[in-house]
Symmetry: C2
């Protein structure tokens, strides 16, 4: 039996992100699906594990870890090999900035709960919801493409020739962009990186449609 | 002359967060105001420093650091004393989860650019904008209050008896909550922590109205 229990929803970008990080670290986990569509995450039972009611949560021994950025930093500290951050402090800051650009400035704004609010409180149509998501993704990818270019990436990965935290964050965001039919041609580096990641088992096996709760 | 140049806007929550972290580390910086109201952050000159056009940026030597979560982790690695993260990996994950709850799930959603979008694309009234901000702050503080309580805080700080990353993130979010007239009485621990932080020079001197560009 695995030492980890992963509470996840196949389509959740933050769950996807954590699945990639676990796979890159070579860690297996017991997958416990939490269905966001039926609002299982807001039910009393799951709230006992994670009071915020968000996925993912990672449980190991008696410890409950929440918030994917915190869990992924914990993984990096607890299982340093293979590293998901470069060695130099400056480079680490670059990679973390790329991750934050997705993790703070993009994903949370296009989150399910936000879109539900737009629909319910502002009467947003599906076209307006799509325009909203597309707008924030485009703004972020425009900036990220420059950051990646300036980091002298040859387009293998966001930073250097091995996957880092930045790729862990980027790939689920590209997945979401594809779902909103955002045309990725505008960002050739991001598109190439996503393609390169998809060739790696750790990324491929973390994909939403590969999960037991995919539907 | 200071070795740091801090590009900041007095009212920006992420700038505020970084000012607190710099102060707690005992680091001084040259303050360079970037006026978000006149959209100076979107101008060509500032984009040369930070292509995303966001504040804050921290420049040291020839290195430009962007994205406050990345900059603050860089500060923690470069200037480990006093530490802003606890020693044990589990506790570090707890503190980082509290920070992410604010830094990912709250602040970015109530950001200036988001509110502008709501006004322009959804014709949101100021009442609707306030309701939006209040909603996300309440949801976050409800969850954070539980996290803080479960971490056995006595209400001095978010975690333990010295300031951590969690307080660095929380205080600017409370500042924003006050501006939106959110009633803080609902979260006695958060309210006490904010009050305790305000007694510390590193926090007090980082406050928006103490900055040279305050208006």
């Amino acid at each position: 039996m695995s030492e980890f229990k992963l509470y996840s929803f196949f389509r959740s970008g933050t769950s996807h992100r954590l699945r990639i990080a676990l796979n890159l670290k070579g860690l297996t986990s017991e997958y416990i699906p939490i269905n966001l569509r039926t609002e299982q995450h807001l039910g009393e039972e799951y709230r006992k594990i994670n009071p915020q009611g968000f996925v993912p949560s990672l449980v190991t021994g008696g410890t409950v870890l929440t918030q994917s950025p915190a869990i992924i930093e914990w993984l990096e500290e607890s299982y340093p090999n293979p590293p998901l951050l470069p060695a130099s402090m400056k480079d680490r800051a670059t990679v973390r900035a790329m991750a934050a650009l997705v993790g703070c400035d993009t994903h949370p704004i296009n989150n399910r709960r936000i879109l539900e609010y737009l629909r319910k409180q502002f009467g947003a149509s599906e076209d307006q919801v799509n325009a909203w998501c597309t707008h924030w993704i485009e703004e972020a990818f425009d900036a990220l493409e420059v950051l990646v270019k300036e980091s002298n990436s040859k387009g293998t990965f966001c930073f250097g020739d091995t996957p880092t935290l930045a790729d862990v964050y980027l790939v689920p965001q590209v997945e979401s962009a594809k779902r909103f039919k955002v045309d990725l041609k505008r960002w050739p580096l991001i598109q190439a990186i996503d393609e390169n990641c998809s060739q790696i088992a750790a990324f491929a096996n973390a994909a939403p449609m590969k999960q037991m709760d995919a539907s």
